[in-house]
């Protein structure tokens, strides 16, 4: 009797246990079924993992944070609209600080451990030159934006590496065109540029362009402060002693801010026409104390409220409003650089999905991105150079004036010129210095 009761008890407990177990399995299956991708695209993954890399520490932190903030916000917008081909994007944020070796290691970790599908970003020219070969080695779609060295696609071809934003060639050709139009009687030039790829390339392009546009102009001095230096008193003294008509500088972000703060009380901006090729960030950070009369361009060709223009394009207007509401500050050029990278990636994926009718491989996306044309918040972008890997789009230059932005207080640019992409970039098969050297003497492209 006791044995029968014990046996019955075990059977009851076992049955109840099985019911509970199957119930749990059933619920988990239902939950799992809910998380399956809703994408109707065959072979679509659960999510698209994209790394966003930019400086979150160190002197460029302001620029990098603006880029990452914009990237996150824009990806949220894309995901809310259904993602790319129904697949949501998962951003993974990485700090670009720490040097080239660290970034290469970090890139490998992103691809091999985190298994990202694409890597976007990189502000430093030194980093992009090191990462591009690794992108080809690991066969991972990599789209640069902030770094501007012309060496990237003019010295070597890459398959998986792209840059979806203007490079220094466009900026410095536009700078030369602008300054010669503003100061046609200029005769002497001094250059103050940081001694690394970005500074060297920027000066080289500007100098070549000026030699064609103003054959009689003389370069008095070229000065090469170290990347990282924030004390420029000797360079400023040298420049004041030389008394040039034009001073070209590709100093950027906090370095340019320091230069402007040290130079202004010494009368540099009264004695010389300064051309800050990527001075847009400084008009925002220095704000109302920014001296008047400085020729300023934006990294990648962007200057807030001019290009992209919120008055001319509804998407741009929406982005400005969302960014300002979320972060309590205005977007800067670096914000648009990152957005443009994301749009390039999106356009390439969508083109490949349409061509193949299924989720594409990385090689198919890469092929779709080559020579692609797409819209970026009202800016028409064409991947025209570097065998389809380097973007070209319009370039903005202006001169700091006395009027202030009604909301943010930074000085508005006057005498704004927006140079069409074809005006400041070579044909696709020609290196930019060769193109500059082919200009008729005394005339531009």
């Amino acid at each position: 009797m006791k044995a029968t009761v014990r046996k019955f008890s075990f059977m009851l407990i076992g049955s109840v246990g099985c019911l509970i177990f199957y119930g749990i399995v059933f619920c988990v299956s239902i939950a799992f079924a809910q998380t399956k991708p809703a994408s109707p695209i065959p072979k679509a993954p659960k999510e698209l993992k994209v790394a966003l890399v930019d400086f979150l520490s160190g002197p460029p932190a302001k620029a990098g944070t603006a880029a990452i903030n914009a990237g996150r916000l824009f990806i949220e917008q894309i995901n809310e609209a259904g993602g790319i081909g129904g697949v949501k994007i998962k951003p993974i944020i990485v700090d670009e600080a720490g040097g080239v070796e660290k970034q290469v290691t970090e890139y490998r970790r992103l691809v091999l451990d985190e298994k990202v599908d694409a890597v976007l970003g990189y502000l430093s020219s030194a980093d992009c030159l090191a990462i591009a070969p690794v992108a080809d080695e690991l066969k991972t779609l990599t789209i640069f934006n902030g770094s501007g060295t012309s060496k990237l696609f003019e010295q070597r071809d890459y398959k998986y590496a792209f840059r979806a934003v203007n490079y220094e060639g466009s900026e410095n050709v536009a700078a030369a065109l602008y300054v010669t139009s503003m100061k046609p009687d200029l005769k002497t030039i001094v250059g103050i540029n940081q001694d690394y790829a970005w500074g060297r390339d920027s000066w080289e392009t500007f100098e070549h362009a000026m030699r064609r546009l103003k054959p009689g102009a003389k370069v008095l001095e070229t000065l090469w402060p170290k990347l990282g230096a924030v004390e420029f008193s000797a360079e400023i003294s040298k420049s004041l002693a030389a008394k040039p008509d034009v001073l070209h500088t590709s100093l950027w972000a906090g370095f340019l801010d320091s230069f402007i703060k040290q130079a202004a009380p010494r009368g540099v901006f009264k004695e010389t026409q300064v051309v800050a090729t990527v001075g847009e960030r400084s008009i925002v950070t220095i704000g109302k104390d920014m001296p008047e009369g400085i020729i300023v361009g934006g990294r990648g060709g962007f200057v807030p409220y001019i290009l992209p223009d919120p008055k001319a394009n509804a998407e741009a207007k929406k982005f400005y409003e969302m960014y300002e509401a979320r972060f309590g500050e205005m977007p800067i050029a670096d914000s648009f650089n990152m957005v443009q990278d994301i749009l390039a990636m999106k356009a390439a994926y969508e083109k490949a999905i349409k061509a193949y009718g299924r989720w594409p491989t990385t090689e198919e996306v890469v092929k779709a991105l080559e020579f692609l044309q797409f819209d970026s918040l009202g800016v028409r972008v064409s991947m025209a150079l570097g065998k389809g890997h380097q973007a070209i789009h319009p370039q903005v230059f202006g001169i700091t004036g006395s009027q202030r932005h009604p909301k943010w207080g930074f000085p508005l640019l006057e005498k704004v010129k927006i140079y069409p992409a074809e005006k400041v970039n070579p044909p696709s098969t020609v290196k930019h210095l060769d193109w500059i050297n082919s200009w008729p003497e005394g005339k531009g492209p």
Partner: protein
């Protein structure tokens, strides 16, 4: 002659700045025998605190000429707070440990403090340039200089004089020299060596913060300003000799003048002038100009 004058002026201005950023480092090494990598963070903290206090002070509408005093107060305050915290909580535990451990600790502190600075002050550039612009300009050697730049040699001289006075003319200075010479004997003779070390570290921290505070009006304060300073400070200290304030003076002058000459005469050499000077000095005198050869005690 004009170029020579400008090289001399630029060289002295840069040398003054170099001295301000490196004297704290060499003083701490001289007393505590610790290579303080966090020196760069103390400099940055002094800069940010100086800028913040100047901006706060200016909002009161009081006379802007007192901002120089505000910068001094900010440096002393930050030196005392940060210096005492770092020394009592962290460094005191590693005096008897290997140099590698000490280096790792101070490097870790540096990394932590860099992020602390970002947490407190954010990543946007800070500007407190009123003190820089206030003193106007002067023309020397045919070139306009901001008069503020000539404050730096004055502050550097005053710092050096105060250190010299403390070490050579005060009872505390005699105790410091004794502690440097032999800690064990000092302890046995009733000297409170830990307290002496704390005070010495605070003095070094104040000097570092002073360098930062008086540089703040000249630059845009951004995260990472301490990194560049560590490299320069180490180079100057290596040239002058670890632990020698006089060596820091001479090292700063040599580097400042060499860099100014390079910029005016051979700009391509600007990038590595300081390292060229360091290499040449260390080639012939590995312990630095005024450094002492370490004698091994048995």
């Amino acid at each position: 002659m004009t170029t020579l004058t400008v090289i001399l002026i630029d060289g002295i201005i840069f040398a003054s700045w170099l001295f301000l950023v490196s004297v704290g480092l060499t003083f701490i090494y001289g007393v505590l025998r610790i290579l303080n990598v966090a020196h760069g963070s103390l400099y940055a903290l002094g800069a940010y605190m100086g800028a913040s206090m100047v901006l706060l002070y200016l909002k009161t509408g009081a006379t802007p000429y007192l901002t120089y005093f505000v910068l001094l107060v900010a440096a002393i305050f930050m030196g005392i707070v940060a210096g005492s915290f770092i020394e009592t909580i962290f460094l005191r535990r590693v005096y008897k440990r290997e140099e590698e451990v000490q280096l790792l600790l101070t490097f870790s502190l540096f990394l932590i403090l860099e992020d602390v600075i970002k947490l407190i002050w954010g990543v946007s550039p800070y500007f407190a340039d009123k003190p820089y612009a206030l003193l106007g300009q002067m023309r020397l050697g045919g070139v306009i200089y901001a008069s503020y730049a000539f404050l730096l040699p004055g502050i550097a001289l005053a710092s050096g004089a105060i250190i010299w006075f403390i070490v050579n003319r005060t009872r505390f200075g005699k105790i410091i020299i004794s502690v440097i010479t032999d800690r064990e004997i000092c302890t046995s003779m009733g000297v409170n060596v830990p307290r002496v070390c704390t005070f010495a570290f605070i003095i070094g921290a104040i000097l570092a913060a002073l360098g930062g505070a008086f540089t703040a009006p000249m630059t845009a304060l951004v995260p990472g300003i301490g990194v560049e300073v560590i490299v320069l400070a180490f180079a100057v200290v290596a040239i002058g000799g670890m632990g020698s304030v006089g060596g820091a003076v001479l090292g700063s002058l040599m580097v400042g003048l060499a860099r100014a000459a390079a910029i005016h005469l051979f700009p391509e050499l600007d990038l590595f002038t300081i390292y060229l000077v360091m290499s040449l000095v260390l080639l012939f005198r590995p312990q630095g100009l005024f450094g002492e050869v370490e004698v091994r005690r048995i």
